[in-house]
């Protein structure tokens, strides 16, 4: 491999010790006694950056971006997997080991040495670095007198004085002013054209879209999406919107704002918990098509032979959108003794259109509630469906559509074929 980066199944496990002395126990037994709790902050991440291409790494705080970057830089080692990297690597971030009491020029020598340059090389590159940084006579002032932007100018000029084979950029660019940013962008573009592989970690969607050929999305240490920047960013935005909506609905529930709950039935059996979950736990907002789990738990007061647990989803106008129950799904009901608890689980892809919905749950005997309802709970919870990365559509139902649009030759009157359902 000439240039480029290959990340293969990289994972990072930190060791969390309940008490510091536990580490000593491990040391003294040469690791035969494990006292730490493994904490995976990154798991199974694989991707490749070809020479001359750029990849954007996006994700919320704590998603593992920095850890990934540190592993690629080589300051920490992966616990599993490996990083293959050919050629010289340069990482651009604020600081770069600059010492506040030294002048810009002195820091360039130390910084250059840290990057593996020889004293002679720094000397040769110095005029070039100074010219690019454009901080004038400040180069001989202590760095503590510099603004963040000036420090960035110096750090960037040094890190990119020689074209690296791999360039890592972590947020830093946002500090510079527009003029310098453009200069940096031009230089980075030139490097990329000359074959540098670029890794950009950023919260700035514009930067990722303009720079990167591809993007990867990290979510809680896992690689959630990889693809064209547009698609990945859309998905990321939907994820954020989902979290926000989740929060809002939970908050409203806690404030007791969810009205319209009605409950009926003879309470022979009662619902105690009805909750919607995504793959990480209770949730109230979901992307279109996301797999949802509905869990209903309760208790029977008197023995029940043929308990049926059912649910229905209604849109904001109260129309039934979907509903079914364990009887129709042919789930055998266990005989339940008085006082015994039960739990029903439903899992389904949420192929609904964006909007607000409510869930109604019911316990009864036999196929329908007419046979005798034990507990019927309207609007037990509400949830929101948020657009994912699917093409735009309207309506309460998400149908997977394929379409074609073409001119038909040899016909005098042009006909449009395809789908345009309204």
């Amino acid at each position: 491999m000439t240039g480029g980066v290959r990340v293969e199944g990289v994972g990072k496990r930190y060791k969390r010790y309940p008490r510091p002395a536990e580490r000593l126990v491990e040391w003294l037994t040469l690791g035969r006694v494990a006292r730490h709790e493994p904490l995976w902050v990154l798991r199974g991440v694989s991707f490749e950056v070809e020479p001359g291409t750029a990849i954007g790494v996006v994700g919320a705080n704590g998603s593992g971006k920095s850890t990934l970057l540190k592993i690629i830089k080589g300051t920490i080692r992966p616990s599993e997997g490996r990083v293959e990297l050919a050629g010289r690597i340069a990482a651009l971030e604020l600081g770069l080991g600059f010492h506040a009491d030294f002048t810009g020029r002195e820091n360039l020598y130390l910084g250059g040495a840290l990057l593996g340059l020889r004293a002679g090389e720094v000397e040769e590159l110095l005029p070039e670095i100074e010219a690019f940084a454009e901080i004038g006579r400040a180069i001989d002032d202590p760095v503590r007198t510099y603004s963040a932007g000036m420090q960035l100018r110096l750090a960037f000029s040094l890190a990119t004085a020689l074209r690296p084979d791999v360039l890592l950029i972590d947020e830093a660019l946002a500090v510079g002013d527009v003029y310098f940013q453009q200069k940096c962008v031009a230089r980075i573009r030139r490097f990329r054209d000359q074959g540098t592989a670029l890794l950009l970690v950023s919260h700035d969607p514009v930067a990722v879209k303009t720079f990167c050929d591809r993007a990867v999305l990290l979510d809680r240490g896992l690689l959630a999406r990889e693809g064209p920047p547009d698609r990945v960013l859309e998905y990321y935005n939907a994820m954020i919107a989902k979290q926000t909506a989740d929060q809002e609905i939970f908050q409203a529930e806690n404030l007791g704002k969810s009205r319209g709950q009605t409950r009926s039935g003879d309470r022979r059996a009662t619902i105690e918990i009805a909750e919607l979950r995504d793959d990480s736990g209770p949730a109230r907002a979901f992307r279109v098509g996301e797999t949802v789990g509905l869990r209903i738990e309760g208790r029977v007061r008197l023995p029940v032979e043929d308990l049926t647990v059912g649910f229905a989803i209604r849109d904001r106008l109260g129309n039934d959108v979907f509903g079914t129950n364990t009887h129709h799904l042919v789930v055998a009901a266990p005989p339940l003794r008085a006082g015994e608890r039960f739990r029903a689980e439903f899992r389904f892809p949420l192929n609904l259109g964006p909007g607000n919905y409510s869930v109604t749950t019911a316990l009864h005997a036999g196929p329908v509630h007419l046979g005798g309802s034990y507990d019927w709970w309207d609007n037990v919870c509400v949830f929101q469906v948020i657009p994912g990365d699917e093409p735009y559509f309207v309506g309460t139902c998400h149908l997977p559509v394929e379409s074609r649009l073409e001119a038909v030759a040899g016909d005098a009157s042009p006909v449009v074929s395809g789908a345009a359902h309204r």
Binding site: Y14, P20, K73, I76, G97, H99, A113, L114
Partner: protein, 261 residues
């Protein structure tokens, strides 16, 4: 490791330079203070101990001997303890660098060693001038100090890296080290002549690997005789064992090191 060190020799040089510059930062006389401190110390021991307190080395009658005896021990001890003390914070102090950039970690102890050695060279240089001025130049025996210094450096660096690495995880080690150094100082014949120590205790003191080293310097300067090589060989063996331990401990802990900083 040595090859990586050689490739990054510019970094070692920069780190050493940075250290000296930091010490002299915002002082007009800069690094001259290093020499002034050293000269003052030598002056105090030779003048105060010899002239004012009229101390005498048993067996060596002249006035200057005891002062020079104390100076030899103190100067070399300071070199030893400077490396050990600064090793405790070696990785902690450079946490930012270790976290942001990849470079051979051996450059850090290397820079510490070079810096401390330069520091020692200044002090030792002044001391040699004093010897020359007082007509006590040890002559050819002075060459005997070179292997002693090498063994001392090995001891200090090996023990320093060993404890400095563990100190990242357990700060108790750094504290224990500074307590240990106080005892170690008095368990080494630096301010007292070994002759005043009763015989049974003396054989216990001989277990101290620094004992043959410091005695060696003292015999070179005061008696113009070469050191006792058997004792020095023993200290070398201790140093090699410590270096092996430091190497394996550093290797074992270095994956967790940066995360702990």
């Amino acid at each position: 490791m040595l090859r990586a060190l050689w490739e990054y020799r510019a970094l070692v040089a920069s780190l050493v330079q940075r250290d000296f510059r930091l010490r002299s930062a915002r002082a007009l006389w800069g690094n001259a203070w290093l020499a002034i401190h050293a000269a003052a110390q030598i002056l105090i021991y030779t003048v105060i101990f010899s002239e004012v307190m009229q101390a005498r080395l048993p067996g060596a009658g002249d006035r200057l001997s005891y002062g020079l005896y104390v100076c030899v021990g103190l100067i070399t001890w300071s070199y030893f303890s400077e490396i050990l003390v600064r090793s405790q914070t070696l990785f902690l102090q450079h946490a930012d660098l270790l976290k942001t950039l990849r470079f051979p970690r051996a450059t850090l102890p290397a820079a510490l060693f070079v810096g401390a050695t330069l520091n020692f060279a200044v002090v030792a240089g002044i001391f040699l001038v004093v010897l020359l001025a007082t007509d006590r130049w040890p002559g050819i025996a002075l060459l005997g100090a070179v292997p002693l210094l090498a063994i001392q450096g090995l001891l200090a660096l090996a023990l320093g890296v060993l404890t400095g690495t563990v100190n990242v995880f357990f700060r108790d080690v750094g504290n224990a080290m500074s307590v240990l150094l106080q005892f170690w100082f008095w368990l080494t014949p630096i301010v007292y002549p070994i002759g005043i120590v009763p015989e049974p205790v003396r054989s216990w003191l001989a277990l101290n690997p620094l004992f043959p080293i410091v005695s060696g310097y003292q015999s070179i300067v005061l008696e113009q005789t070469l050191p006792d090589w058997a004792g020095a060989a023993l200290a070398l063996a201790v140093g090699l064992v410590l270096a092996g331990a430091a190497w394996s401990v550093f290797r074992a802990l270095s994956p967790d090191l940066v995360e702990e900083l």
